[in-house]
Structures are given as C-alpha cells and as structure tokens.
C-alpha cells in the first residue's frame, strides 16, 4: 500500500508538470480548451496528491516534489523555446541538487 502511494506520488508530479506546460501555453495564447486541459491535468494531480497524503507524512511526501522540477526542466527544454542566462541555469541546477538532497534525506 505504501509502495503504491509512492508510485501515485510520482504520477501526480508528472500530471502537475504536464499541467504547468499546458498552462504556460494557455496564458501565452489563451484558448478555453487549453485552460481546460491544463486545469484537468492539475485537478488529477491535486486529488491524487490528497489521497497519497493520507498514507505518507508530509515531510516525506514533499520530497516527491523533487521529481517535479527535474521533469519540468526536461519537459520545457523539449516543448517550449525558453532562453536562460548562465546564472539562471546555475540557479536551476543548484535547486535541482537541493531538491535531490531533500529526496535522499
């Protein structure tokens, strides 16, 4: 049951990240269908996360947010055309490292 909860926690992060990419597209070029897709994806995330929160202490669950930024940085590189400064990339990599450290703790 606990293992299933962890798998669901990862799945929830994937839905969250996909929702964010869809939401970014929606706010940049608004269309009701885009918002619906984005909100739908994040709604799935929300209820999955809420269910999982019953089985895992919050401080153990929060590290699953670790997958979020990693997935998102990869997802955005593949789907959106964003340019960041060197310092910003350094910040992103530092944050991913911090997030990974937390997930290992």
């Amino acid at each position: 049951m606990i293992a299933l909860a962890f798998i669901l926690a990862f799945a929830a992060q994937f839905m969250l990240v996909t929702g964010q990419v869809l939401l970014k597209r929606a706010v940049m070029a608004p269309h009701p269908a885009k918002f619906a897709l984005a909100i739908g994806s994040m709604t799935l995330y929300f209820f999955t996360w809420l269910g999982v929160a019953r089985y895992i202490p919050l401080s153990q669950l929060a590290p699953f947010d670790a997958c979020g930024p990693v997935l998102l940085v990869i997802w955005v590189r593949l789907t959106l055309n964003e340019r960041l400064s060197l310092r910003a990339w350094l910040g992103v990599i530092t944050i991913l490292a911090g997030v990974t450290l937390i997930s290992l703790s």
């Binding site: 939401l23 590290p63 955005v76 959106l80 964003e82 530092t94 944050i95 490292a97 703790s105």
Partner: protein
C-alpha cells in the same frame, strides 16, 4: 486578453516597481501553497482519525469533510491566481524552479506546526534550494522587464 508581445520595443523602460511584481507574485505563490499543504495535511489527518470505510474513505476523500481541507483549497486557489500572473510574465523554467522553495517552506512549516522531524541532510537540501532561488532572482526581475508591455508608462531610459 491579448497574448504578450514577443519582444518589448527598444528604448521603452519599465517603471522601477513593475520589475518586482512577478517576484512578489512568486513569493505569494510559495506562501499560499505552503499554508495550503499544511492545512491539507491537517485535513487528511482528521480523515485518518475517522474509521469509516465507505467509498469516500477508499478514494482518500473523507478529508473533504474537514474545514482544514476547505481552507487548504482556498489557499491553493489564491496561489493559482498569483501563479497565473507570474507565469504570464516569466519563463516557466524560472518560475517553476523558484517554487521549489515550497519544499523548504513546507518542511519548515511541518517542523514548526506539525512536529515533523527534519534530518541534517534535509537541512542541507533546504539551504541549497535557498541559494539556488537567490541565483534566480536577478533573472526573474530582468525577465519581467524584458517581456512587459511598454504601455506608455512614462519614458525613462532603459
């Protein structure tokens, strides 16, 4: 709502305070989401104390009955409103990585209010995230200035 211009016209300046609006929005996102997650955990705990085994219980939705859960949802909605503003003005990578700060603030909140333990490694992770977020701040301020519509708000020098 019209989409953002792909580029700001040259020579237009943003009023000084505008550059911090997206940053302020991100800080609000982190604050609201931290409050929301702690409230949701309190709601979920209240649900665990309830021993019923109906379909709501199976789906993990007994938490919906708790006022903590409802308050958590309200904070998440407030967070979403601030997030939409930030998202419109910033690259997604910058904005989302900034919100990794939630992992530091949620752990700190769980430590303070829920009595959850924070290991030494987690403290290091929290510190690392904070350093990373500080590295993003200049880009966040600059990004908004670059993508902001000029809208004739006075003509300072760029």
């Amino acid at each position: 709502v019209s989409p953002l211009p792909a580029k700001a016209s040259h020579g237009s300046a943003t009023p000084p305070r505008r550059g911090n609006a997206a940053l302020l929005a991100l800080v609000l996102v982190v604050t609201f989401v931290t409050a929301a997650d702690i409230l949701l955990k309190l709601g979920a705990n209240a649900a665990s104390a309830d021993n019923s085994h109906g379909i709501l219980s199976t789906l993990g939705l007994t938490a919906m009955i708790s006022p903590y859960t409802l308050a958590g949802i309200v904070f998440h909605i407030a967070g979403l409103a601030a997030w939409l503003y930030a998202l419109r003005h910033l690259p997604l990578t910058l904005a989302f990585c900034f919100t990794a700060l939630e992992q530091a603030t949620i752990a700190l909140g769980a430590w303070l209010w829920l009595g959850e333990h924070i290991s030494r490694l987690r403290w290091v992770g929290i510190g690392t995230i904070m350093i990373g977020v500080l590295l993003l701040v200049p880009s966040i301020v600059k990004s908004e200035q670059r993508t902001d519509a000029p809208n004739g708000a006075g003509g300072g020098d760029a």
